[in-house]
Symmetry: C2
Subunit: 207 residues, 2 copies
């Protein structure tokens, strides 16, 4: 029986710790593949094509849209960001669970196209903690922090559109909980139609 | 914030290993409470009131039905079996995850009354294995085994009414998977409305 992988979207407030959680999840467990986005924004220093992003020209990106080679895309501040279909589909076929670390807008697009996608929203235990983490980074001025909190308040309106809301309080626990959530998904009855049909058929023959 | 426990129903084919899985789950993890059924059937040798079952007279049982003190009940071969409401509700309020090991008919009743119940169906990897386990018990004659397989074929028609279909191939793994399924359920967005509302309120204040 062919077991296909699960498509997982992880979103969350800026400052919720998505990047760190993803990094540790991939280091600790073998079965995951992180999808790499395509973008038209220019590479920053130290970024490599095919590692952080696939860097594309506007023309290349729009050709990918036309040819239906992206499973979601969005326009942020004048640049395109999107998820190439090819890599995701190949890994899922191989039975790998593929994780998209994308924002709200893309997450809802993916869920609409592929309703069996598992949407996970990462959040700190409280808003004060989110503010403290953004301030603790020390890399952003007060205006930027306020803009991120405002954006978080907008995103919070859509938290209940996600399947799971996962608190990132203790990093190690959060990574294990995320792993548990994804692995449990494999047992959902809706994902095991072949097994159910097989058992039905065999039991009819035996009885 | 008050975290309530999860109501879990575990059903499965006779021979799927429900009893052994339940026993090991309760031994290995602390958070679970197994609900004890009430029944009008006579205690067998070695059975204790309040351990295997709460043994009731027909009159007592029918009074419990009338007073709505059972969350489900059914009539099997002339005897009543049912789940007392009181214990289940108290443990859920305390945040314990309560497991009902009951059959199809009761499982569907509970899901209808409490749609947030998690229904798990336990199955061996294939029907031949189910037959081999029933034969391996050595306690049942061929007619009984055939009756159980016939019953399994009937139950298989309802497997997709369960939330999860869990294969019991390796006992240790099955117990850990069941634990993972139940624990992941705590992160479902629908079970975290208070957390979502709290984050929304706090972010509105901060922004």
């Amino acid at each position: 029986m062919k077991v296909k992988g699960i498509l997982v979207v992880v979103s969350g407030f800026s400052g919720a710790g998505k990047g760190t959680v993803m990094k540790m999840l991939l280091e600790k467990y073998n079965n995951y593949r992180l999808s790499i986005s395509a973008t038209t924004r220019k590479p920053r220093e130290g970024e490599e094509n095919g590692r952080e992003y696939f860097f594309k020209t506007k023309e290349e990106f729009e050709k990918m849209i036309e040819e239906n080679r992206l499973i979601e895309y969005a326009d942020y501040v004048g640049n395109y960001y999107g998820t190439p279909r090819d890599y995701v589909e190949k890994q899922l076929e191989c039975g790998k669970d593929v994780i998209l670390e994308i924002e709200l807008q893309g997450a809802l697009q993916v869920k609409e196209k592929f309703p069996e996608t598992l949407l996970v929203f990462l959040t700190p235990p409280c808003a004060q903690e989110l503010k403290a983490r953004l301030e603790g980074r020390g890399t952003e001025d007060n205006n930027t922090i306020m803009a991120r909190l405002k954006r978080a308040a907008e995103e919070a309106a859509y938290m209940d559109r996600y399947d799971c809301v996962l608190i990132n309080d203790n990093l190690e626990k959060c990574v294990d909980d995320l792993h548990g959530i994804i692995q449990s998904e494999h047992w959902k009855a809706g994902r095991n139609k072949e097994l159910i049909d097989k058992m039905r058929g065999e039991l009819e023959t035996l009885k």
